[in-house]
Symmetry: C2
């Protein structure tokens, strides 16, 4: 079995469970606050002093959240962690640690697992996150990756979806619809994606969670509510409106679209605005700011750096979700709904 | 769609994502240390004062870790949490909270999801655990349930696999091989399992993690190492030996077998000893005790209650795993290995 593993490209089933776990544990270094790390029944950590702890879990399923046919293994590893880090960012939290649970098809190549680990750990290093432990099992179905991400936030500084009030301005970071355009480009291309590619394709493959933006918004007390955009702008607006008991009017002409996405939609004859409203996977932050806290937002923005922040609408008292353009007002389209 | 859901037994796909999430969130009540609970991007909690935090994650896959054909939904919910709580128990930790991530086939009946939630939350209540959040996604493959369990332990009190030393006695809680016998009974039976059934079948369907035993062993400083038995005694012995850099000799005649398991194996013409060594899913604790700490073990046992604790072997300097019986000594058989 071992010889076969040396001369060919072995599968997960060739390697066996212990070798698969060792392949991952071999990459790890532990900070002092980790008293027991991976390899025992559970991890033991010292909580961060004077902080609240922030916890989230999210799964990616092959064929639902990505497609191994055109998403390279390191991008899958990056995304599996990034979608969770993005949830921490939306709370204004600082990432600290993660747990990783893999359900692996026996036919998966060991090289694909190595590529996955490359992308996962490079992203973890970028956010100074420590892998505390995990679990590996086989599955007769598709690859399922479950990540639990753990962060910290100062008491009373965390951002939630529930604080928007009528009159607050609505903002979004970065550009909308890039990831959806990148996914469409990948689906329409015969060539496998290069993992270093930038632009819309890169934004789909390796989204950058807005951790710095979330932390600065929280630190400056600038945002009254916040959410990350995983299922499109319209869905994010709806979630903040529901949680806060308010309405939102979005200004269609204000939505930030990248030049590349605009060009691609023009060439494809598709509607860039629809993509910006309903396209998922952008992992930008959508947040609201009280008008009297615009100074705080400017303070936060100076510390965030180059990331664009665009005012795209306003919070209203009537609980309606409205899209306003030159032609008038319309109902905001519904976002992507799982299971349908 | 809603009407259909009222008059028939709807599926997950009929209900849609929001309704599925609401069905679960509706069950929850939050203690004061939860500042943000389920429904936001992440949960925010106040860490337990003066404690270490203990974290573990484990997944169950339909067709691998259970079979919906003969494991009722509430037993699946119970087991999904129990296997994680058992990892906390093995560290000597007190359970506190959980995160739940479900990958659901669209064809799954909503009533099965309700049954799952019944079993999950009944077990969570039994251990005073709070569900902090989770994630629900569809999958084209089998049901996958991923749980992250969070507990607390006093500083310097946590148990690990790594502390066994030559001369330590080896102990196990409860009975070995009951769950494997129960699984075999279920597989050999035409009748669906009653969820309230006891004995070996009950031990397989609804294992009771040894939280009280783990906490008392940790509190009294009685155990030098500890692990929970998920993949059989032989595997647990091997893990402690590897982590501690020691050998172990197990006394075959000392292994605690229940009368029901003995009778079942006698009737089936199978070997009860093999089942006790390699049968998984018992979720008993295997631990070692320094001879001079036997008094501490007695102190812990008084607080644990009725649960039997049996001395089954000794830790040795030479790194061999030995099974000793009236006929002499043998290599300890290998435990269950995933992926093979």
């Amino acid at each position: 079995m071992l010889l076969a593993a040396l001369v060919t490209n072995p599968t997960i089933a060739d390697l066996g469970e212990q070798a698969v776990i060792q392949r991952i544990i071999a990459r790890l270094a532990m900070p002092a606050w980790v008293e027991v790390g991976p390899g025992d029944d559970a991890a033991v950590i010292v909580p961060a002093r004077g902080r609240r702890e922030v916890l989230t879990t999210d799964a990616l399923v092959d064929g639902v959240h990505f497609n191994q046919a055109f998403v390279p293994p390191d991008a899958i590893g990056h995304r599996a962690l990034a979608v969770n880090v993005s949830d921490l960012a939306a709370m204004g939290a600082e990432p600290r640690a993660a747990l990783l649970s893999l359900a692996l098809p026996g036919s998966m190549a060991a090289s694909a697992l190595d590529g996955f680990a490359d992308g996962f750990f490079r992203h973890a290093d970028a956010h100074r996150m420590t892998l505390l432990g995990g679990n590996i099992t086989r599955t007769p179905g598709p690859l399922v990756i479950n990540v639990t991400a753990i962060g910290t936030v100062h008491p009373r500084k965390s951002l939630t979806r529930a604080g928007a009030r009528p009159g607050d301005d609505v903002y979004v970071t970065g550009y909308l619809g890039d990831a959806a355009a990148g996914l469409a480009m990948l689906r329409g291309s015969d060539a496998p994606a290069a993992t270093s590619c930038g632009g819309c394709v890169g934004r789909y493959l390796k989204p950058e969670p807005r951790v710095r933006a979330g932390r600065q918004l929280a630190h400056h007390g600038a945002a009254s509510s916040c959410i990350d955009l995983s299922d499109g702008l319209a869905d994010g607006v709806r979630q903040i409106a529901l949680a806060s008991g308010v309405g939102v009017t979005i200004d269609a002409d204000a939505l930030p679209l990248s030049d590349e996405a605009r060009r691609w939609h023009a060439d494809a004859g598709t509607d860039a605005l629809t993509a910006a409203l309903s396209g998922g996977d952008d992992y930008e932050l959508l947040f609201t700011v009280r008008p009297r806290h615009r100074g705080r937002l400017r303070g936060a923005h100076r510390r965030i750096g180059d990331l664009p922040i665009t005012r795209i609408g306003v919070v209203t008292r009537t609980p309606e979700l409205v899209l306003r353009d030159a032609a008038g007002t319309h109902d905001l389209p519904r976002g992507f709904e799982h299971f349908r």
